[in-house]
Every structure is written in structure tokens, then in C-alpha cells.
Assembly symmetry: C2
């Protein structure tokens, strides 16, 4: 195997049911790395502006990064991308598990799917053997059933399956792509695109090996992580998973509650990772080659039957379907999580769309006449669970919610769009800008809208100031700061996180920037630098912005949500808000730092040239 990449991208034309191979060359992989970068490249190159995201014209791309598949914690990531049916702009979602590493082992750097099959199909990749197979028998089935059926019919116990779920079949705008039954490439509605193409699943089995250029260095780094995993994760990631900090966040008004009206939830203790560990946790699970084991496996025989096969709720899920809906029933949230994984729904947008409906209901903007009789007061656990299923099946009120909060609000009218907690149509994840101001800048300007996969700013500058030193930033900055230095930090940090989504590394890894540079070099044999890697992130971000500009987005779509300019009326951070003038000044500076045009919102020619994107200049 070539180090880190094979220079083999599988192209699948569903209309003609043909496959082909593309070999873009080493410089391509070094310039874009994979993931977000590769996706942005092909969407810009090949997608005509203005197409319906749910039409056959859309292109769906599954892309690991060059590090995906290395025998090293955090390398089990891949991205899925297309024009988003939720936002109408750049769509990209990131996921862990085992599927991406399996695709690499099969010898493929990415899969690009074009067209639409006339009947349901699935793609079967076994190393070099590629088949487009009939999927009529698995259409409409749960993700768990689909995976079991495909394993059986292909006689491959070690099969890895990525699939769109019933929600994707039904083109729920925030349907996700599920792999390994319980891992979600959650955001921007990639499952709906998959469903719209009649592509039920991509089943992969690879028997090749991942051969890094410097296997010793990879082994050494893997051993370092394994040996130090307990001390590196002081937050209890192993014991409590991503929900380990949920109760703490509530104590600082950092846990979005009641559709972001509050940041502190009375029932937080009931949802937090420690409680899960004490109650429904069966065991930990992990992703490819990772010793951290932050994934939860939960089960319950109580009022809600929770099966371990569907994993367990992440922090994002506990916030969106829990505190944001006012629900403090852990078992119910775990069950709703199971439904999302079984049907292929993004738990964040699902929860936040329900939370939007609840706030509208409480405000009298929606009534039982709209909801099919459902009482949507915050805290109605039963209604929350019911709606998850209705959304996936597009039944009843769920058919409206399946459009996402913004589309639904626009259909309903009555000023309900005000309470849709979203940017560009994508609902916010469970991170509250009023307790970390720079996040608001990320939310407002992200090409994918309310997204956390490249916008979480707390890590580097509060937990690990030293992590910013190689960027020339030596002083920690307070969370409630949007000074020019915070704007600078946000810019660097977002570029760095986008890079992670390109290279195929999990954002929870404790590697230093130097270690990550060394990992990329050890995998690929390159002589890369932090400079080059940050530029990859900046480049990938710039391409996504160009994509959006071409789709009609302008700077006017980079909106800071009004709610974050409104003070908390209670709780630990009572009175805290991000003043409009603070936000506007930060936004203007951020634009100028990034080299984005203040009107079009797109990168300037000079910035595109500086990123080596000469070919993109003509697209604007």
C-alpha cells in the first residue's frame, strides 16, 4: 500500500450502474488530505450550482483522510459530503467507528457517488471487487437489521456498513449516514442525499494492510497514548464518555436547555455521564484502534427498552433530546437515541427541531391542532420520543419537523422562525456561545451553519494553553472575550479543526500539534509542517465558502443568532449576553483576517491564490 493513500478514488455512477477509478495524484492528497478537503474539491469541480440537493444531480462523497486507518487512536474517522438538503450549501459530516478504516484497508481513498439508481441498491466493496447490488429487501429496515442481513447475504462477518436508514429513505432533511449501526455522520442531512439516490448502503470489507511510511513511529505514538490514556483524559472520558462534563456545563450555564432559553438544567444530574455509568451503562465501546473507549453501550428493560447494539447517547444527544426538550429521563433519551440510530436521524437536529416546536408550543405559536394532538410542553418525554419516530417515518406532525426547524417554521409561519435555533438552516449543537463567545463567531460563519465539528473553542485555550504556543499565542483568553486576539485565536483554531476533518483524526485526541504533524509524516513519509497543515484547513474552509457563495449565500447569511445577544434570565450566568456591537466588530475583523469579502462572504482572489487555489478563482 501507498503510505496513507492509494491514489484510488472509487467513482460510482448509479444511473448507469458503472464504477470507475480516479487517480488524482500525490499532490492532490497532500493539498486536500481527504475528508472535508476532498469533498469540497469534488463538489466545487463537479457540482453545477443551484441543483436540488435531493435530486440525482447531487454528488455524495464518502471520504476518509490520509491518517484514517493507521493503527493509532483517533484514526477511525471519515467524512461524508454533498450539497446539503438542510442548508442548501456545503454539506459535510464527520463520523468515527470502523467503516472508514475498512474502506482504506480495501484500498480506496474515497467513494464518489453520482446519479440516482432507478431502484434501491447498495454498494458492495470487497477490496478491488465492486458490485452495485439490489437493496429492495433491506429498504425500510432498521439499521441493525440491514447490517445483519448484508453480513449474512455476503457471508462476511467482518463487514462494515454505512447506510442511510429509513429517515434517509424518507429524505428527512437531517437524516444522517449511520455506520456500524451506532455511529452517525450526523450533520447536514447526508442520509437524505443517500436516500434520494436510492443508495441504501455501502458495505465494505478490506483485506489489505495499512502500511505507514514509518511504522515504528506510529507504534510508538500509539503506545504513548495507550500508556497515558488515564492521565491524559483528566475529564474522565473513559469512565463517563462525552457526557462526563454535562453536569459541570449545567453549573456554568453551558448546557443548552429549553431550546437554548437557558443554560442550566435542573435535571442535569440525571443525564450526566456519571449517572449513566451508575445506571444503564453496560460497557464502553471504541472506534478503530482507539484506547480511549469513550463510546457508551447502554441497555434497559424499563419503560423504554434500550438495546445495547445501538450504543448509547453522546453528550450532544443528551442535550438535544434531553435538556433542550426539558427531558431528564435518561432511559427515554437513550431510547430516542436508539430510534435515531435505527432510523438514521441526526440526534442534534432531531432534538433541536423538537425543542423548537416545544418552545413555539409554549408560546402559543403552535397548538395541538398543528401537532396532531401532541402536548408539546417542555419536559413531555413521551411526546419527544413519539416525535422522533414520527420524524423518521414522516408521519403526522413529524412530517413537518422532518424538514428541519427553519424549513418547518417557514411553512408554518406565525413568526415561529424566530425560535428556530439555527444558522443557515442547521440547528445548533449543544454548545452555548454565551459561555464561550468565540463559538458565536464559528456558528455565524461556518459554511455548514450551526455546527460544532470545527467550532469548539474551549479546548485549546482554557484546558491547554500550551497547545496554542506553536501558533505564537501565549496568554490564555477569557471565555467571555471577543477581543481581536480572541478573533485571531478563533481563526487559527477553526483552521486547525477543519484540518482534523480533512486528515481523518478524532477531535477528542490529546495529541499535541507537533505529534499530529509527526503522525502525518509517519503515515505518509512527507516532510509536512504545522504551517502546511493549518493551510490545508484554511484551504478547505475557503473552498466551502466559495461553494456557498456560488449557491447564493452572501455575508448576510453569516448571522449571529439573536438569542445569544439576549441575556440569560436566570442561572449561573444570569445576565450574560454577547452584545450585538461586540459581535459585529468581531465578525468584521474575522472577515478581514480570513480574507473574506465583506459583501459576498467569499474569499478574495488574493486569499484563493495564497492557498494555491488558482482553479477556484474562476468559479466566483
Amino acid at each position: 500500500m501507498s503510505h496513507g493513500f492509494f491514489n484510488r478514488i472509487l467513482r460510482v455512477d448509479l444511473l448507469r450502474r458503472e464504477v470507475s477509478i480516479e487517480t488524482p495524484g500525490e499532490h492532490f492528497f497532500r493539498t486536500y488530505l481527504g475528508g472535508w478537503g476532498l469533498i469540497a474539491y469534488y463538489l466545487l469541480k463537479e457540482l453545477a450550482p443551484g441543483i436540488d440537493p435531493l435530486s440525482p444531480e447531487n454528488i455524495l462523497i464518502f471520504a476518509p483522510g490520509v491518517v484514517t486507518g493507521a493503527s493509532l487512536g483517533g484514526s477511525g474517522r471519515n467524512a461524508v459530503g454533498a450539497k446539503s438538503p438542510l442548508t442548501g450549501g456545503f454539506g459535510e459530516a464527520d463520523v468515527g467507528g470502523f467503516w472508514g478504516a475498512e474502506l482504506k484497508r480495501a484500498g480506496w481513498d474515497a467513494v464518489i457517488v453520482t446519479g440516482k439508481a432507478d431502484t434501491p441498491v447498495y454498494l458492495w466493496i470487497k477490496d478491488d471487487e465492486i458490485e452495485i447490488r439490489d437493496a429492495a429487501h433491506v429498504w425500510g429496515k432498521s439499521t441493525l437489521d440491514v447490517e445483519a442481513m448484508l453480513k449474512e447475504e455476503l457471508d462476511e462477518k467482518r463487514l462494515r456498513v454505512a447506510q442511510c436508514g429509513v429517515a434517509g429513505e424518507n429524505q428527512v432533511r437531517f437524516a444522517c449516514v449511520i455506520n456500524d449501526v451506532n455511529r452517525a455522520a450526523g450533520r447536514t442531512g447526508m442520509g437524505a442525499v443517500m436516500g434520494s439516490k436510492n443508495l441504501k448502503a455501502i458495505a465494505v470489507r478490506g483485506t489489505g494492510r495499512f502500511e505507514p511510511a514509518d511504522a515504528g513511529k506510529i507504534r510508538e505514538t500509539a503506545k504513548w497514548l495507550s500508556d497515558n490514556v488515564r492521565t491524559l483524559y483528566t475529564g474522565g472520558m473513559q469512565d463517563y464518555g462525552t457526557a462526563g462534563g454535562l453536569q459541570y456545563l449545567s453549573s456554568i450555564s453551558g448546557l443548552p436547555t429549553f431550546n437554548f432559553q437557558e443554560g442550566s438544567f435542573e435535571g442535569a444530574q440525571k443525564l450526566t455521564g456519571a449517572t449513566m455509568a451508575d445506571t444503564i451503562l453496560v460497557r464502553n465501546d471504541t472506534c478503530y484502534a482507539c484506547p480511549v473507549r469513550c463510546k457508551r453501550v447502554v441497555a434497559s428493560d424499563g419503560a423504554y427498552k434500550v438495546e445495547p447494539e445501538y450504543g448509547g447517547p453522546e453528550y450532544e444527544t443528551l442535550g438535544a433530546l434531553g435538556s433542550c426538550c426539558g427531558v431528564d429521563n435518561l432511559e427515554a433519551v437513550a431510547y430516542a437515541n436508539q430510534l435515531c440510530n435505527a432510523y438514521g436521524l441526526d440526534t442534534i437536529s432531531t432534538g433541536m427541531t423538537i425543542a423548537w416546536a416545544m418552545e413555539c408550543f409554549e408560546r402559543g405559536l403552535l397548538t395541538t391542532a398543528d401537532t396532531g394532538g401532541l402536548d408539546l410542553h417542555f419536559g413531555n418525554t413521551e411526546a419527544m420520543v413519539r416525535l422522533v419516530e414520527q420524524i423518521a417515518r414522516r408521519e403526522g406532525f413529524g412530517n413537518l419537523l422532518a424538514e428541519g426547524s427553519l424549513h418547518a417554521a417557514r411553512k408554518i409561519g406565525r413568526g415561529t422562525d424566530k425560535y428556530a435555533m439555527q444558522v443557515k438552516g442547521q440547528e445548533f449543537p449543544m454548545h452555548e456561545p454565551r459561555v464561550k463567545f468565540a463559538l458565536n463567531l464559528g456558528y455565524a460563519t461556518s459554511p455548514t451553519g450551526g455546527d460544532h465539528m470545527h467550532n469548539i473553542h474551549d479546548t485549546d485555550y482554557t484546558r491547554s494553553v500550551e497547545g496554542m504556543w506553536p501558533l505564537g499565542i501565549f496568554e490564555p483568553l477569557p471565555a467571555d472575550d471577543l477581543s481581536p486576539q480572541k478573533v485571531r485565536l478563533a481563526k487559527y483554531h477553526i483552521d486547525w479543526q477543519v484540518f482534523w476533518n480533512c486528515v481523518g483524526l478524532c477531535m477528542f485526541m490529546p495529541y499535541s500539534k507537533a505529534q499530529i504533524r509527526d503522525i502525518v509524516n509517519a503515515v505518509t513519509g512527507w516532510n509536512t509542517s504545522l504551517f502546511e497543515l493549518l493551510k490545508v484547513g484554511e484551504r478547505a474552509m475557503a473552498m466551502a465558502r466559495v461553494f456557498n457563495a456560488r449557491e447564493g449565500f452572501t455575508a448576510n447569511d453569516d448571522v449571529a443568532h439573536w438569542r445569544f445577544a439576549t441575556p440569560f434570565t436566570s442561572g449561573p450566568a444570569e445576565g450574560v449576553r454577547i452584545p450585538d456591537e461586540t459581535m459585529e466588530a468581531a465578525l468584521a475583523l474575522y472577515y478581514e483576517m480570513r480574507g473574506w469579502d465583506r459583501v459576498s462572504g467569499a474569499p478574495t482572489r488574493a486569499k484563493l491564490y495564497e492557498l494555491g487555489l488558482d482553479w477556484v478563482v474562476g468559479l466566483l
Copy 2:
């Protein structure tokens, strides 16, 4: 010793004859590193705009970098800076030898000299003991005599002396600072500033040790260089010094000849490094800790008596006093070089000011009535040598030339300024833009004008393409190209070279970017990155641009010289020119890439903030 720096800057107030210590802290050293960066910081902080560079108000700074003094080839560098009497803007000159390393061994990171002594003085630094001593007895003496006299009176054989020479005493606008008798901090007239302060010399003896954070790593790198020095320098740097490529350059029209009217010199073979080795070369010399030994020591008992103590001519000198004056007499150029070192003259500006006079003479714009009877046709060896001495002594026609070509031309009038080969008043070094187009961008925009210390672009993209890979640039670009990708390369490369002038490394070192990052880390114990180091360079450049803007420079002062838009009329590159429209487009793009305002020429607020220069924003 603290690793790489002591956090001790020596401040010398010549008016009050007082010294003090400044301790700016570790973040300061990590942000600016030393050299250019440190100089720009203090000039911006402390110098009032609009002062006369030769008045007591000017500040003169001697600054090694954090790596200066490490036991490692290339670490014998320091910078000297002040407001330039030649350009009226940011003045900075770089030099090798042993003085900078000695200053570090004495425990000092820099010396900042303010005010003017009422009588000639010199500064004596022995570790912590600092004395401002009378210099009346050495005033007017040759650099060789001064060094010998100070060694004797201070009873220190291992003394290292930096001094201004008689040219500096006479405030020749391009007087340099000479250390170790034959090493010149040549550009921008720093010797004149030193002379204007009645500061004859800074004599240093340090008995401390340079203790890197990781001595093993430094030893290992030093050994690597030493073991591989022959194969690393394929150009014959050891055998032929910097003049090794002189004849080759002539063969591609790359050797400035007849005041840049031509690029190919009939007598090149007589001046080239190989000829020197065959004739007047006595031995090689070296700088602190360097195994390359590129320095020449020459001697002659011929018509021109050349003493080995003054070293030997560099490529720059052979071009400026040789081919640019049409002189092919190696011994005469070596003698002129000796005069420059003895008097403290920058050989480049000296040669180029004489060459300017010669071109004007040939064009009839100057006559023997102006020159005091000297026939200034190109090739008049005797006149060239005579003028060097006249300039240093400000005698006869030399008194006019001592102002530099632009000032002299303005005094003379008659359109002679057209033939002054300079930008911002500083004469071009021996690098011809018509055979490397990006150089023209550097010349036009350098804060120090016609300067090569941060503008030589050929190395990385023709000789070592791999060196650009860590910047994300993978394809070599032709020399006669000013495409957007060349502009990008120029920007990165200039930032990188400015960084070298901050950190205290010699530009001739063959270290890769990763090695240099590792060297900085091994010296300091930091966790720096290529990103951080490039930003240091960009930051230092931005500060120099702000300095110039404050002095009244605007974008209109970033002028591409008309001659480079004019084709060679003969020679290997006959017909080659850089069209105005090509240059204008490149310049506009370069500005935008750098975040420089198209009118003021200064960095934008956003760029300053992005470089962490909040304190500079208010200065504009």
C-alpha cells in the same frame, strides 16, 4: 544561562553615559526572537517619527537572535538596526563573524544605544562589567588598528570589536558596522548612525557558556552539517566562497554589469571564485562554529597591496565594485574591498554609487568638472579605487557620492536620478530581477529598499523544490514567472528569510525547515512550529512596514525600477524584461496577500491583530 536568551538587554544612554538593563520576558523573545524583530519592536516603541537619522534622537540597536551563539554552523549572526540615514526608513543590516556570539556569551541579548556622546567613546562589555570609555585615541584609525589597540589596552586577546570605521565617523550614508575587521553589517548606513553618536566601537568579551535546552540535539545537528558539508554544498561554497557562481551568473545574464545595464560581463572569469582560488586566495576563513568556511582570505603584493587581515571580497563586492563598474581586475577589487573594510563602507552601496556616477559620466550627465578630474568611464579601475577612499574620507567628488546614489543624484540634478539603481534610496545588491522575476517584487516592497538579505528567491524553488513542500508548494516555478503562485511563493519566502534575520541564522545554511524548527526548539526548549516561525518573519516585516508608514512612506514608494522593465540589449538574456503590467498585477496581488493597504502601504488593522500586534495598531 537561560536557553537561547538571558532576558537581559543592555541599554546604553550615551548622553548621560549611563547603562541599564531591560528584561522584556520570555514571551517577548518568542514573539520577536531577536535581530530584525527585536530592532523593529524597539524602533516602533521608542523612536519618535520624523527625527533625523543622524541626530542624537536615533536609536542604534545591536541584536543577535536566540540561536546566535549556539555551537552550530550559521549561528554567528547578529543584526544592527536604526532609522536609516540612507533611506529615511527602517534600517537593518545583518552580519556574521564572532561578535554576536561573543555578546551572547557575555550574557546579553542585545545592546540598545540611545543619545550621543559629547566626545568619542567606545563601549566595553566584559560579561556583567560595562564601561563607556574614551575613544579619542582610536578616532580616525583603520578598523584593523582600532581592534589591535583595543585588544592591547583592554589586555584581551579574545576581544571582539564592532566598530563604525572612519566612514561612519564621517557619516557616509552607507557606512557600515564592521566587526572582526572584515565582517560588515553592510546595508542601510548603520555605521553612519554609530558615528553620529560618537560611538566608535563596542568591544565585547564573554566568558559564559551558551547552554541549549537540548545540547545533544545541537551537537547532533552540528555533526550532521560537519559530516555532510561537502555534499550539501554542491556549488563549491568551501572551495570558491560566495563568488563560486559569479561566472555562471554572467552566463545567464545574472551578473549585474555596467550599473545593471547588462547582466553578462566579459571579465567575469577574471573575478569568479575559481580564479580567486587560483590566484590571490591565501586560505578560507569562517564564522562562529561554522564548518562551511565560505569566507575568503586574500593577499597580494602586486600593484594593489592586499593584506590578509581584511579578509577577501564576497560575490556582492566583486559585482558592485567589479562588474557593475566594468572592472575585471580581481586584485583591484580585493584592494577596494580592503578599503571598505578598513574604512567601514558597505561594498554594495559603494560600488553601486560609483557605478551610478560612471553611467552618468558615460551619458555626459557628469563630467570631469563634477568628478574633480576623474575619468569615470566604466572599467577605470584606478578611478574606482580612488573613489572608494574619497567616499570614506568625504574628499573631493567622494563627498557627494558619500550621500548615496539617490541623494547625490538629487543634489546634482540633470536627470541623473534615473540612473541611480536603488529603491527607497538603497542601492541594489548583485541580483538581477530579469533572471528571477520575483526578486523585483522583493526589491520594490522591501522596507529597506534594494536589499538582498530577505529577497533572494532562487534557492528554494529552483535548487531545492523540496524545501517548499512544507509550505504546501510542490511544483517548481520558472524564474521568469510572476504568476499568482510565484507571488505566493515570494510572500512565504520573504517571511521565512526575515525570520532568519530575527533568529540569528546565516542564509547560506543548508538546514531544512524542519531542522531549523528543531534547532530553535533545541536551543530554547520551546515547542515551536514552522507556522510560528513564519509568523515571526511576517510580524517583523509588518512592523518594519508600519515604521516606514509612520515616517511618511506610502505604497507609492514601492517602486519597481524602470530598468528591469527594459530589455537586455545583448547577452544570454537579450530581450528579457519584466513588463510593467506584469509587475503591477503582481504587486497588487502581493499587497492583498500580505494584508497591506493599497494606499498607505501599511498592514491593515486585521493583519496587525492577526500577528498579535495589538499595540502597533494605535501607531498608524
